[in-house]
Amino acid sequence: MSKPTQQLDQVVIRFAGDSGDGMQLTGDRFTSDAAVFGNDLATLPNYPAEIRAPQGTILGVSSFQLHIADHHIQTPGDAPNVLVAMNPAALKANLGDLPRGAMIIADTDEFSTRNLGKVGYAANPLADGSLSSYHVHALGLTSLTVEALADAEITRKEKERAKNMFALGLLLWLYSRPTDSTERFLTSKFGKKPEVLAANLAALKAGYNYGETSEDFAVHYEVAAAPMRAGTYRNVTGNAATAYGLATAAYKGGLRLVLGSYPITPASEILHNLAAMKRVGVTTVQAEDEIAGIGVALGASYAGALGVTTTSGPGLALKTETVGLAVTLELPLVVVDVQRGGPSTGLPTKTEQADLLQAMFGRNGESPVAIIAAQSPADCFSAAFEACRIAVTYRTPVILLTDGYLANGSEPWRLPTMAELPELVPAFTTEPNHTKTDGTPMLAPYKRDPVTLARPWTIPGTPGLQHRIGGIEKADITGEINYEPDNHEKMVRLRQAKVDGIAASITPLDVDDPDGDAEVLILGWGSTYGPIAAAVAEARKEGAKVARAHLRHLNPFPANTGEVLRSYAKVVVPEMNLGQLALLLRAKYLVDVTSHTAVRGLPFRSSELAEVIVAATKELSK
């Protein structure tokens, strides 16, 4: 007899375990099932920097949080309603985030005296009553799994390893999800190892059936599909969307995409994704270091490809000199910085937005580049596409800032059709564009387009247009080496004017102010989009009058930015750094923006931001 079903409008689930417990995979699978089911969703993986941190310790806890809803949501959620804790460390590390009344599903087999001791539990919290304000389901996940696999021809260790599938099966039952898409996934993943496949499938089924039959679970839940714009959807992570955006932009420009990259957390998946796109002509070079990665990309752009390099903060520091070369060579180049906690090695697997000023100023000389930031995992596609558009149109390096939160987080993505995307026009030079004083036609490599100030992109192999370019200051128009004071002055200003002029081609800053009477503006950039949007919605529910805007272009800013800032009595800028955008805005617009900052390696909680917003509106009305 099946159990009663209770409807929920949303739920936040966190899977937590040892880094070897397969929590990322479990979370990923639940996410895919939810996506295909039609929920809106957002995810937040959180894992240690060490591949195998000491077993059973707080340091080694890996978790995956997902938020599913029957309506549009913006964030992976502040606080989990359900915690799956595979061991005492996972419980201890995550308990603080749980609101009272939350459900805890814990694997009692792992709550041994030894494991409890490892994380400083004197008594077993599952037994000592300390969790009485939560709904605790304590069950022997490991032993139940091993039991279910009694007949399987694999080692006990391998049987134990399938416990994440048991947990997944249980959760799929708990939220009334079918298991078939996960079964398909497992079949394709373990097709070559039939015994392992059989064990995983059996564990999944056993978990599902356990929910169905065990008296421990009285009800199960259902979160209905969310209304979404018509279209075809998939679930996508930020890193995958970035890779797709780059490949698609190259396709729309008729260009070969050449990625030069060096592995670095959390950017490596872009390299992995692009390396798997050879069938659409994508070329990837895993270089010997970060500098070579961007060198390869710049060489490829020089040769007429779309050169891209991908990295994270420390890698961007190494690429700096080559970005400067690209600034002066005025060649298209896209540099993706998946920001992580810094400085130095910092927090490799955690998120931060503290590379904005590095992107803006981290080079010698006056060295302007365009800067773009993505605002959500799926938005990485559009942001990457836009970065390529600017790079190709303006012959300039563009730094695309994403971050660890966007990179690993995922959400539903409405797939674009090729027809709805703009074309990119490389417009290679094929003819001389200038005449010498004696009347013979010539190529003037630094004679600019009067509108964009872009110089011609003249690629090797073009007959009669051989020319030399380099890092030394070049004469206006002819591009020859030139050390004259007036020429340098002119060229420095021209390069700046070109990048400033990009503002003419970008959409103005759009303000969300439903009643049009807000006096406080919340302005964000990058991955804070979701938390800010959710916080503003929450604050409005509490009656706060607040407007919201989000910057995609950080350099140049949209042309109306100053005007927008000045039309509010108070501007609050939340950032995951110590106020880098605020510094730029203050410097450029002389507006007294208020910074709200946090650098915890985690995205903002929307509830915390909502409090900040409400306080700001109250302060103003005092």
């Binding site: 070969r256 069938r279 040769a303 050169g307 007959p463 009669g464 380099g470």
Partner: protein, 361 residues
């Protein structure tokens, strides 16, 4: 007989050649209108002139040649050659040139670099370009000094070199560029001299024909900061007793009458002994095509700071897959298996595995 005749891929296999009957190219075809600005008497002039005179021989139009350089006196080279050229940043030319070579099989890509540029700040890129065997021709101008920054010792300066930055003599030991290249798995390694146009040209010819990385160390005189570093090799008489000219299949010898010969010293390298004392069967014959680079490496170890002996010529010339060819082959294979890259193919790519559709409501 050329390498292509015996079925080995040629360095210029994918580069378009001038059609039959096209106006012949000459040195002027590869001479830019820029005023050459090296110091008077600099060895770079001879190198430039040799290269400009050689390039027409390739039968490749100037627009299909690219020269990438780093920073240093030698790295001004691209400005003077009327091809496509990039004067990049210090040490990075091999990486940038790798990008060019990977993106464009139809270009003949050259790198001009120096001992500081290639072996100090750019050492990592150099060894990896050679390891990968990217289709690049690397001209390494070795003058054993930093010229552009006005005379500091370089990674090829002998220990004890006194310069402004080492007033009491340099402490570190120098690199031997040929040994380094051989240790980096380079498939073509040669040494020549700025002043020996004939030998230099022969080496260039072989390098251009080589598919993969060709590393040419060119001993170059810097008359301003390190004048005469190679004088003993330029004086006819003293050179005869010092230089071992390497010729494939020939005995390795030195001396006006080839009176000193190279023999294996029982496993630990090469000995030079009077011919009269050598058992003829044990006299070394040069084999640049040997798969094992040990003999080439041993030959590269003959030189000492006093240059009492030094081997010149092509140390190694073996056929191995070129990196850029391999990269292209993988992309081409994937493309031909998947069919044309059109809107539908791109949309399929973006869709991935699991999709769902939301209808109009």
């Amino acid at each position: 007989m050329t390498l292509t005749d015996i079925g080995m891929p040629h360095g210029l296999d994918l580069v378009p050649r001038l059609p039959e009957g096209a106006a012949p190219l000459n040195r002027k075809s590869f001479t830019s209108d820029q005023e050459v600005r090296w110091c008077p008497g600099c060895g770079d002039y001879a190198i430039l002139s040799a290269v400009q005179s050689f390039l027409p021989e390739l039968g490749v139009a100037p627009e299909n040649v690219v020269v990438v350089s780093g920073i240093g006196c030698s790295s001004r080279f691209p400005y003077y050659v009327d091809t496509y050229g990039m004067h990049s940043i210090h040490g990075r030319a091999p990486a940038i040139a790798t990008g060019v070579a990977v993106a464009r099989p139809d270009l003949s890509v050259w790198v001009a670099t120096g001992d500081g540029d290639a072996l100090s700040i750019g050492g990592n890129h150099l060894i990896h370009a050679m390891r990968r065997n990217v289709n690049l021709k690397i001209l390494l101008f070795n003058n054993e000094i930093y010229g552009l920054t006005k005379g500091q010792y370089s990674p090829t300066s002998p220990t004890g070199t006194v310069t402004k930055s080492t007033p009491t003599g340099s402490v570190d030991r120098p690199f031997n560029p040929v040994s380094l290249a051989l240790g980096s798995e380079a498939t073509f390694v040669a040494r020549t001299m700025d002043s020996d146009r004939k030998h230099f040209t022969e080496v260039l010819r072989a390098a251009a024909a080589h598919r993969g990385t060709a590393l040419i160390e060119i001993l170059q005189n810097c008359p301003i900061f390190n004048d005469g570093a190679y004088d003993v090799l330029k004086d006819r008489t003293s050179a005869q007793s010092r230089i071992l000219w390497l010729e494939a299949g020939e005995e390795v010898t030195v001396g006006a009458e080839k009176e000193t010969v190279a023999v294996w010293s029982g496993g630990s390298g090469i000995n030079l002994i009077p011919r009269s004392e050598a058992e003829p069967a044990l006299i070394l014959h040069h084999d640049p095509a040997a798969a094992d680079p040990s003999q080439a490496f041993a030959l590269s170890r003959l030189d000492d700071p006093a240059l009492s002996h030094i081997a010149m010529g092509i140390f190694r010339q073996v056929s191995a897959p070129a990196y850029d060819d391999g990269v292209r082959a993988q992309v081409d294979a994937a493309r031909s298996a998947a069919g044309p890259v059109d809107d539908a193919a791109m949309e399929k790519l973006l869709a991935g595995g699991d999709t769902w559709t939301v209808g109009e409501s």
